[in-house]
Symmetry: C2
Subunit: 349 residues, 2 copies
């Protein structure tokens, strides 16, 4: 991985790090059933994006195809934030960390008077939004590390099972994109192993990935801190989450992480921002049929609109620059327009 990985919680860990998203119980199995009994990609409008997916699956799974891929080698990788679920106005995992601050302060009361915890405790989002990157790093380190792995899992699960977003007033896990759920199901129905490759925290996403996306935790690759093996007073071993960055799963860290965790180059990769660029390049550079797709958030009415590609409003969360858009065109990637390609965005619509 890149040399910056040992620099502690890095800039990218914050900017690209954080997210999480499950669906209502039963939603996933309903989606899977749908994909198998109805026509695939039911929530997709006819168009070049849907066609690119159908063509790719045919090219890699039809035994008579020159670009057929043996079943055991089929791998498709998916960014999470902004690709599989909503990332605006703030990565879900950042919301989790901010919500965790009172718990941390309760354990260490002195922090209540110390920045950035003082500001985080106000609950005033305008003030919180002005916190510096370093401040956010301090909050992430305090809320995501230092505890037993099992304790973290229990806390994160309790939060994701109950916290609701501000716009739709729904569980974050309901804010997955139904068309992308159908892509996941369609790929798996065709023998692909589906992986999440997220800048978000690996441990965090693993808490709900199976239930929400049908992706088992061992198929979640994310930004990951180290853990340390130790023994409690009874000699029982446990693992502690450490504030030491082991894998920064953004930019070049995505293909590097894919090599480390899977050891195979994916045939297909999906993303939505500059942090996914190298993963898509890596997938696309292999032999045979390849698929590289980017979700463009161009639907302010049904979700959000941001870019700055195609003149959309600029953003620091999930940036899709015009330069990236140009590479898309040059290298034969496919852009998914949320506005034009998706009949509906959420299962609850």
């Amino acid at each position: 991985m890149s040399s910056s990985h040992s620099d502690g919680l890095s800039r990218r860990f914050v900017l690209g790090a954080l997210a999480a998203m499950p669906a209502l119980p039963g939603l996933l199995s309903a989606s899977v059933a749908e994909a198998q009994t109805e026509a695939p990609l039911a929530s997709w409008n006819e168009g070049p994006a849907k066609q690119a997916i159908l063509d790719f699956i045919r090219a890699t799974t039809d035994a008579s195809s020159k670009t057929f891929v043996p079943r055991e080698e089929r791998v498709a990788t998916f960014d999470q934030d902004g690709t599989l679920w909503v990332e605006h106005p703030m990565y879900t995992q950042v919301v989790y960390c901010l919500d965790r601050v009172p718990v941390v302060v309760k354990e260490k009361p002195k922090l209540a008077g110390v920045e950035p915890f003082k500001t985080a405790l106000t609950g005033d989002f305008e003030k919180i939004a002005k916190l510096s990157l370093h401040d956010l790093e301090v909050i992430l380190a305090a809320t995501l590390t230092g505890m037993d792995v099992d304790a973290f899992n229990a806390e994160a699960k309790a939060w994701i099972d109950s916290a609701r977003d501000h716009r739709w007033k729904r569980l974050y896990t309901e804010l997955t994109y139904q068309p992308m759920q159908e892509v996941l199901s369609f790929f798996r129905a065709n023998g692909f192993k589906t992986y999440i490759v997220t800048g978000g925290g690996q441990d965090f996403v693993r808490v709900y990935s199976d239930r929400v996306y049908g992706i088992p935790r061992e198929q979640v690759i994310g930004t990951a801190g180290g853990v340390k093996y130790g023994y409690d007073k009874n000699g029982k071993p446990f693992l502690t989450k450490e504030p030491k960055l082991l894998l920064n799963d953004n930019y070049a860290g995505k293909p590097e992480g894919i090599h480390f965790m899977i050891g195979r180059r994916p045939q297909a990769a999906f993303g939505n921002s500059t942090g996914d660029q190298q993963m898509l390049e890596y997938a696309k550079a292999g032999d045979g049929a390849r698929l590289a797709m980017l979700v463009l958030h161009d639907d302010a009415a049904r979700e959000y609109a941001y870019g700055p590609a195609q003149g959309l409003p600029d953003t620091k969360v999930g940036t899709f620059t015009q330069a990236l858009y140009d590479e898309v065109k040059k290298d034969g990637w496919t852009v998914i327009s949320m506005k034009d390609d998706w009949k509906r965005i959420f299962a609850f619509e």
Copy 2:
């Protein structure tokens, strides 16, 4: 992972690092078929070791059992060197690295006159055995890093497909233990995901794991160096193997690596040396039915005998100390005696 991970190629990377082992083409599929059509564990003598495996599988897979484990949570981890295949007198991957020295010297002719390459080039095993740990580290770094990932895979594959060991004059891949192949098949037939968790090089073992053990490369966790993403002169991306240790998969590094790569605690773990101690402790410390087994090399006639547990000769390759043996007894682990528990050791017998 532990703080020494960033110290470059560490002591343990050498001592516990290196191994590889495939079987004759067709052997694996034969083993799998056997496990499904005949009684399981056909190469095992009746006794406490075989019984412990049968009891564990029943306890975790019988739906009426109080310790039943849902299929998607079933994980079993296996050390490789000395557990799944022969590790004496030298880890197979170390042999590979020594064999690679002439290739490296051809690319950089000046090294021919420089130690430790000069000694390695003599091919004199007595002299080579006297090389210091630092010397070996230099050889490992020179032969395992600095090249494109695809080039490494091709080189390692060519070697493992042709190199033969000195004692049996067979491919290293034929020197897997048939009883352990049957354990792998038996676990998989009962819904367990089987993982290799090796001190050996992750990339090296992945070259042959599927063919030899039926374990896909994404289920190989090993000592791993970083890779670096870059572009060739045509702008095509590739990954370079770097001399930077990312995961030292020995001792505490085994459970730490398991958390990182799988995110689940295994219900069963198999090893053969002190480097596996923490992995077995970690597996055993979970709730419900648990299985922790250690292969004891006590059969000098059919394989090797080393310990120093139970008064067997001491060794630096795959040490099984009396202290470890005592922990086995205290914590309810099971020792597998190669001499007493295995009817045959290799498939070719």
